[in-house]
């Protein structure tokens, strides 16, 4: 009888110890994994926002370039190139030189376009226009 009780106590002790270790290990592993997962999700969200801003900036750049080319279609030699383009909220579009004139019919004009967008996004491109 006493032998049986001793055996019961030994089994109880071993069970209790394993459960505690398992719980501690589980909590640590889950904690590390969840932290890693949350960090990965946060990084993905940031990268996604930056990507979206960049793609939006690309669209703004294309629209701006097309607006300038469209304005150049109405060009008259030595007259200013009048561009009617308003970038979306949060974006700034600039063309250099700002006061470009329509080139002679046998020449072309190079314009440098810059787009600044949210999240510090910046895009730069050169286009060429001519007087028809």
């Amino acid at each position: 009888m006493s032998l049986l009780r001793r055996a019961e106590r030994r089994i109880d002790r071993r069970d209790s110890g394993e459960t505690l270790v398992e719980i501690v290990l589980t909590v640590v592993i889950i904690g590390v994994a969840v932290t890693a997962l949350v960090s990965a999700l946060a990084t993905t969200a940031t990268a996604s926002t930056t990507n979206r801003s960049t793609v939006d900036a690309d669209t703004v750049m294309r629209n701006f370039a097309e607006a300038i080319k469209d304005a150049a279609l109405r060009c008259v030699e030595a007259a200013p190139i009048v561009v009617g383009y308003t970038p979306p909220v949060g974006f700034a579009a600039t063309a250099t030189p700002a006061d470009a004139m329509c080139p002679a019919v046998t020449a072309t004009k190079r314009l440098t376009l810059d787009i600044d967008g949210p999240s510090g996004v910046h895009q730069h491109m050169e286009i060429v226009v001519r007087t028809p």
């Binding site: 019961e8 089994i11 109880d12 071993r14 069970d15 394993e18 398992e22 290990l25 589980t26 592993i29 889950i30 994994a33 890693a36 997962l37 990965a40 999700l41 990084t43 993905t44 990268a47 996604s48 990507n51 960049t54 793609v55 690309d58 750049m61 294309r62 370039a65 080139p103 019919v105 046998t106 020449a107 072309t108 190079r110 895009q123 491109m125 050169e126 286009i127 060429v128 226009v129 001519r130 028809p132």
Partner: protein
């Protein structure tokens, strides 16, 4: 009711933990792949756009050049074919052009030169643009006055091929 620990329970926690870590790792790898893929797509989009506008600009320069080449000639089919290389957005673009030229007479008996010039723009590799490499192909009609000066340019077609 005392149950002795079964041998089949041993190590279950470790296996579960490994499975959990593998699952989280898979999710992490998926997210990393997503970010990389998006970034690559964005870079491709930008490269494509820059190349397209560079080719467009090179053709514009070639059109102006061809127009200038003909300004001092009389009513003859000159400046038929040619090549020019422009560097725009740090990309060297080659433009090859060839012209189909004809001389027409108006109702007053005046002679006019009508030239249809086809411009092919591609990335410069030191050789003539092959059709599969053409980025922009444009067909432009130049109308020349009897004096030889170009009076108008009409863009017949302007296509971005790749």
């Amino acid at each position: 009711m005392i149950r002795a620990p079964g041998t089949e329970d041993r190590g279950a926690a470790l296996i579960l933990a490994i499975a959990f870590v593998v699952m989280i790792g898979t999710i992490g790898a998926g997210l990393a792949g997503l970010i990389t893929s998006s970034a690559n797509n964005r870079v491709s989009l930008q490269t494509l756009r820059t190349r397209e506008y560079s080719a467009d600009g090179a053709v514009q320069e070639a059109v102006a050049m061809v127009r200038g080449l003909d300004s001092d000639t009389t009513a003859s089919c000159s400046a038929a074919d040619g090549t020019a290389v422009s560097t725009i957005n740090s990309i060297a673009i080659r433009v090859d052009w060839n012209a189909a030229c004809s001389i027409i007479r108006n109702g007053d008996g005046e002679l006019f030169v009508q030239r249809n010039v086809v411009f092919d723009a591609c990335e410069d590799v030191g050789a003539v643009c092959v059709p599969s490499a053409v980025i922009v192909r444009a067909q432009v009609n130049f109308s020349d006055a009897p004096s030889g000066d170009v009076t108008d340019t009409f863009v017949q077609s302007w296509s971005v091929n790749r």
